[in-house]
Amino acid sequence: MADRNNVRSLDDPNIWVDTPATIFDAVPPYPPRTEREAEFYHLRDGELLINLGPQHPSTHGVLRVVLKIDGERVVDLDPVLGYLHRGVEKICENGDWHHAISNCDPLEYVASLFSEAMPVLVAEKLLGLEVPRRAEYIRVLTWELNRIASHALYTGWQALDMGGLTPILYGFIERDEIVEMLAALTGQRMLFNYLRIGGVNGDLNHDFLSRLGDWMSHAGTQLEANAQLLNENEIFVRRMRGLGIVDREAALRTCLSGPVLRATGIPYDVRRAHPYSVYPEIEFDIPTRAEGDCYARFMLHLDEVRESIRIIDQVLHEMPDGPVMAKVPRLIRIPPGRAFIAVESPRGQYACYGMSDGSDQPFRLRIHDPSFFNLQIMNSMLPGNLIADMMAIFASLDPIMGGIDK
């Protein structure tokens, strides 16, 4: 039971006092270690430190943000990460290259085929392995399905963070069909564990194809219903338009990627910038928008879903026959080398820098998650907005804590 006498009053000008901190303080109980910390934890008159804690109904995962607010306005914020840190990179170093696949799966748990692609593509690049074309096409198909599923969820929780209870359920209707489809193919609804070094784990089966056919006939209708519900909705638009504007210069300097970057007008998409897999042979556009606000990001996600449906269409038509897995030894020993690969995940550029030292364990798998960098824009974008805006902006950045915290 904390002693009531230890509670410091709000008028106390001296923050760094000797009384021990109680559970009511967001201020850390040690002196500031960096100048940024000192600047942040120095409260002016009327400012309040509020802890948007790791347990919160609406931070997408366990993110703790210490907000410095003045009334309703956010003056400054300090995100505290690490609540979901699982030591993925270290664990990958202790296991096999194959173990790394299922280990990296939960990094982007919403669209996990992209995070699985990390060790797979790095190993293939280090080995110089040629993946069969059918496997490449299947990969692209499942990647795009995953992208649509992730964007369906995004539109849902963008509205949910603003109080609309319905769009997330419509998004889940869309996602549920896709996820059931992928479960018929991979055996799992969420953490698929489907990509393998050299191909994919198993060919397309009849169940998957029939579900895919059914789904293609009404692809994206739920998302269009969502769009109908929200795009012209006065309340929604007024809360999102002009909010959280990111300009091009700031976007490049903050190393953003993905829809957040494309909404500012920069057409950087890894599928076109540094083509991998069979993307050079597929025809699709890169949707961009120029305003850079939350509404632009929201509309951009819907545009990307339409592009993904186009890609899936082409892939289905041009799918070649052949094996789905290259001839790879059971125990993969990769000659020493370094490689860097990047894929375009629903959140941005998902990159991995892999080093191998000749043994069967990866020497270093450094995973660069787009949400990690995208989240940094909050520090510059958020001050001056209201707390309610903070939730809207935060949702529009589409962060996944699994990747941020690794």
Binding site: I23, P29, F340, R366, F372
Partner: protein, 163 residues
């Protein structure tokens, strides 16, 4: 300078890093405006910091390796003046390896708790040793965060002999 397939690799010393990256970013013939990744590496002998850049002029990646950092005192100038987004990546490299980036305003631990004593991704980090040494040993409630760990040791508990 080395070519690895579709990636060009250059090695830079820490002193020249800022200048090289600035030239690469601002020069019109390079225009490496996209910083794709900042990574720390512990090669066992020494520490590296690896930057990956991309330019709109070519589809290849450029890898800039800052090598030769000693394992007990790795110091690298920070690139946050050029790219804001490198701030958290540098914090992560510090947290995981202990690489100190000079010139950042905010070099704190980002994943591990603020009073953690080891650097997890180093090659000499072993979990059982660390658990016995770190303040994480012994469960402490939030209200006791200010008390040093020694005060909490219950002499009746069996403790590991590893020191």
């Amino acid at each position: 300078m080395r070519q690895h397939g579709d990636t060009t690799e250059i090695r830079v010393s820490p002193a020249h890093l800022t200048e090289v990256l600035r030239r690469l970013r601002d020069d019109d013939e390079f225009r490496f405006e996209v910083l794709a990744d900042v990574a720390g590496v512990d090669t066992g002998d020494e520490m590296w910091v690896v930057y990956h850049l991309w330019s709109a002029l070519s589809p290849d990646w450029l890898r800039v390796i800052v090598d030769g950092l000693p394992r007990d005192d790795p110091r690298v100038p920070s690139v946050t003046a050029l790219w804001n987004g490198a701030e958290w990546a540098e914090r992560e490299a510090y947290d995981m390896f202990g690489i100190i980036f000079e010139g950042t305003r905010d070099l704190r631990r980002i994943y591990m708790p603020p009073d953690y004593t080891s650097f997890p991704l180093r090659k000499d980090f072993l979990l059982p040793d660390d658990a016995a040494r770190s303040p994480g040993e012994g469960f402490r409630h939030m209200e006791q965060a200010h008390q040093p760990a020694e005060q909490l040791r219950d002499p009746r508990l069996r403790r590991s002999r590893v020191d």
